[in-house]
């Protein structure tokens, strides 16, 4: 299968600032890729170069088999990070206008607009002016502009920012539907949880350089921290028997729970059974690395980070600076 996007040694500078440096990337057709990294990492610049909105200083690329996205714009859907619309234009007219610019002109265009508005729970707003919609509604309308022409490649820049959890879920489902339809999806986010929930492959960018390009499963295998999260049934229980459990290397406090680090090459399943037998657990689970952990580990391995720098980095990878609960 041909690749949807191929970038080779792509570099873009703005004055003295190198926004993207020697970026290589291959996105196969039909893939669902996430480009992640903190704000200012170079994600949007990369996306704009893929779309030929910006042009690289050097490097080569192909998009949907063409040397430039300009030759394949009608097959690409794009949701920019900065949402934009004509305030005074009616929602239906705006969507139809963008669809026409994407080559999706035809007798069924009005019906297609209505269908998509219904799909994003915006039925009935067709004749309203764009400025009359709430921010969340505008965002969903904007998403429709990216997909209304049934593109082969969908590029979403921070698609979930500003949406409430219910609409985030709706948008996630719509993205998955488009992916199932056969579209290649590339989206960027600085919130690692969103990438974990949606992608099967992740590209991490930090300070304009790619630091990771791997499947979610591969990342889990590579960055397995090999530790257990343990919470005893009785908060006052004596935990000293846990130290004697074969395979447990050490015990440290982790908030209201305990972190049990495991020795190399032990079977976590056996250790879990032994731990549960030693002290009655309220909760016991194998810790899985989050993308945030992975990202921070990679960044920290590239150089020492101070305490403040570490905190700032973690905050920038979370929505509103808080660590949300991970659900899959």
């Amino acid at each position: 299968m041909a690749d949807a996007i191929v970038l080779k040694n792509l570099t873009k500078t703005f004055g003295e600032t190198v926004a993207v440096r020697d970026l290589d990337l291959v996105v196969p057709q039909g893939a669902l890729y996430g480009v992640i990294g903190p704000n200012g990492a170079g994600k949007t610049t990369t996306i704009r170069m893929i779309l030929s909105i910006l042009f690289p200083d050097r490097g080569e690329m192909t998009v949907l088999g063409r040397r430039t996205a300009l030759e394949a714009k009608d097959r690409i859907g794009y949701l920019p990070e900065e949402r934009g619309h004509y305030k005074k234009m009616r929602v239906g007219d705006f969507l139809a206008y963008i669809a026409r610019l994407k080559g999706a002109d035809g007798p069924d265009l009005k019906q297609r607009v209505r269908t998509w508005l219904d799909r994003v729970d915006l039925g009935g707003v067709e004749t309203k002016r764009c400025e009359e919609l709430s921010k969340g509604m505008q965002q969903k309308m904007q998403f429709v502009t990216a997909v209304i022409h049934q593109p082969d490649l969908i590029i979403l820049d921070e698609p979930f920012s500003g949406l409430d959890p219910i609409n985030q879920r709706l948008l996630r489902e719509l993205v998955i539907e488009e992916h199932r339809r056969g579209a290649t999806v590339l989206f960027s986010t600085h919130v690692m949880v969103h990438a974990e929930q949606l992608c099967d492959h992740v590209v991490m960018i930090h300070r304009g350089e790619k630091v990771l390009d791997e499947t979610i499963a591969g990342i889990r295998a590579r960055f397995d921290p090999r530790s257990l999260l343990f919470e005893p049934m009785d908060p006052e229980a004596d935990l000293s028997p846990l130290k004697a459990v074969p395979g447990v290397q050490g015990i440290t406090r982790d908030g209201g729970a305990w972190n049990l680090s495991l020795q190399e090459r032990v079977d976590p399943a056996q250790v879990i059974r032994a731990v549960a037998g030693a002290v009655a657990p309220l909760r016991i689970e194998l810790r899985r690395p989050t993308l945030e952990d992975v990202f921070v580990a990679i960044v920290e391995s590239s150089g020492p980070q101070g305490g403040d720098e570490h905190t700032r980095l973690r905050a920038s990878l979370r929505e509103n600076g808080h660590r949300p609960e991970v659900r899959r």
């Binding site: 714009k73 794009y78 920019p80 900065e82 934009g84 004509y86 206008y97 080559g103 904007q142």
Partner: protein, 467 residues
């Protein structure tokens, strides 16, 4: 191309189908309509009926009677009738036809004349003794400022003739004249009548005193002013001097208004698209060049609407006054040619500026040179239309985008430039427009996604030089 047309149509519709545009378009004709139709009705042109006395101290004893005769009510009526006859003869043929064909046309004209002149003044000319103290004679004028007409004295004016007003003092070349004292708030039209009357009476007295015949003098000094006729290849017609002056101005104003309205609108929509961030959505669907071309074409259609609307109004006005024949159709063709050339240059500037700034306020600084270019034809309108082939006019004809305005001004003047100059100016203007659009496209491409500090001219030039 289809995408460009979609952009052009949206641009056109979003501009033309707004209340702002419709109101803006109506402002000029409505203002002119108010000035022409409403203001005259609001201003009470009809003078108030004036009744009173004109005191005369006439040491010559030869003027008072002439003045009294001049200010008699029946003489006022005669003079008014003569004036309305003259006005009727000078009216355009179309007006004459309308008046002749309208059942109450003549009566309406007479009513209008009566309304304009007001009621005939009743002026009594009172001869005072030549030895009367002038200061005492002025006293009755002083209380005349009272707002109550019933309390106002009858004396409206005091005329004191100089002793040598009719017969020159020996050894002097000039005749004497007269002094005129009037009450406050005397209608200036009545004052003019008094002046005319005194002048007429003095002249009559001087002629009689000289033993000459007035009719003979008038016959000797009268040379009729002929109506010149403009001779053209297709025939000859009466020269309309007013139109000769107004046509170049009208053409230039039309060109400026249409080119400025549409290019200004292009600036506004570009800034709005950039500020609202919709531009990135558009750029994901079309190239910057397609976007700019679509926007320029859309606003050009707006300019054509303005041109057609105002130009059409002008043509209707000329047609209704049967002066359409005075307008050369070739000039209208050239008006459209120069509009397109001027518009492309201005639109390129505006698109570039609009793409480079973040909001309209920032655009003002960069607009200054463009506005100066616009102002030059206004400043040089009179010198160029009076001397259309002077070196200044010829040189400016080859400096785009000024060339468009200057050449059109020259072409509509009384001494149009040779065709080779017109052709060369079009070529130069077209080259200028292409260069402007090419440069603007470069700025447009880079500027649209640049936010933050607005660029300086130096930055814009650097963007143009970037590949």
């Amino acid at each position: 191309m289809k995408k460009i047309l979609h952009i052009a149509y949206r641009e056109f519709a979003a501009t033309v189908m707004t209340k702002g545009f419709i109101i803006g378009m109506l402002v000029l004709p409505v203002t002119i309509g108010i000035i022409v139709l409403v203001f005259p009705r609001m201003i009470n042109q009809t003078p108030p009926k004036v009744t009173g006395e004109i005191a005369v101290i006439d040491p010559t004893g030869q003027v008072t009677e002439g003045l009294r005769a001049y200010l008699r009510p029946e003489r006022f009526v005669e003079r008014r009738e003569a004036s309305s006859r003259q006005a009727a003869e000078a009216a355009p043929e179309a007006v004459k036809r309308v008046v002749a064909s309208s059942p109450g046309g003549q009566e309406a004209i007479q009513r209008q004349v009566a309304a304009t002149f007001g009621e005939v003044p009743q002026l009594d000319v009172v001869a005072l003794d030549p030895g009367t103290d002038v200061e005492l004679a002025k006293v009755p004028l002083k209380a005349a400022g009272s707002s109550n007409p019933a309390q106002a004295p009858r004396r409206l004016a005091l005329i004191v003739l100089h002793p040598d007003a009719v017969v020159r003092t020996a050894g002097k070349e000039r005749f004497g004249g007269y002094d005129l004292y009037v009450r406050s708030r005397l209608d200036d039209r009545v004052e003019d009548d008094i002046r005319d009357g005194v002048r007429e009476a003095i002249v009559e007295a001087r002629i009689q005193a000289s033993g000459l015949k007035r009719s003979e003098i008038e016959a000797l000094t009268q040379v009729d002013r002929p109506q010149s006729r403009t001779v053209t290849e297709t025939g000859e017609r009466a020269t309309n001097e007013v139109l000769n002056t107004l046509v170049p101005a009208a053409f230039m104003i039309l060109l400026l208004i249409s080119a400025m309205t549409s290019s200004q609108s292009l600036l506004t929509t570009t800034v709005e698209e950039k500020a609202s961030r919709v531009v990135e959505v558009l750029l994901s669907a079309v190239s910057p060049m397609e976007l700019m071309t679509g926007k320029i074409l859309g606003q050009m259609a707006v300019g054509f609407v303005v041109l057609a609307l105002y130009g059409g109004l002008g043509i209707v006005a000329l047609f209704s006054f049967a002066m359409l024949g005075l307008l050369d159709p070739v000039l209208i063709l050239f008006l459209f040619v120069f509009f397109v050339l001027a518009y492309f240059s201005l639109a390129a500037f505006m698109a570039a500026i609009g793409s480079a700034v973040n909001e309209m306020r920032e655009a003002q600084t960069l607009m200054t040179p463009v506005m100066l270019i616009i102002m030059i034809p206004w400043i040089l309108w009179l010198p160029i239309s009076r001397e259309p082939n002077a070196p200044l006019a010829v040189i400016l004809s080859f400096i785009p985008p000024l060339s468009n305005f200057v050449v059109l001004l020259r072409m509509t003047s009384t001494a149009p430039p040779p065709m080779w100059q017109v052709g060369l100016a079009i070529v130069v203007s077209a080259a200028g427009a292409v260069a402007a659009v090419w440069s603007a496209a470069k700025i447009f491409r880079i500027g649209l996604l640049m936010f933050g500090k607005p660029p300086t001219f130096g930055t814009l030039i650097r963007w143009i030089r970037m590949s």
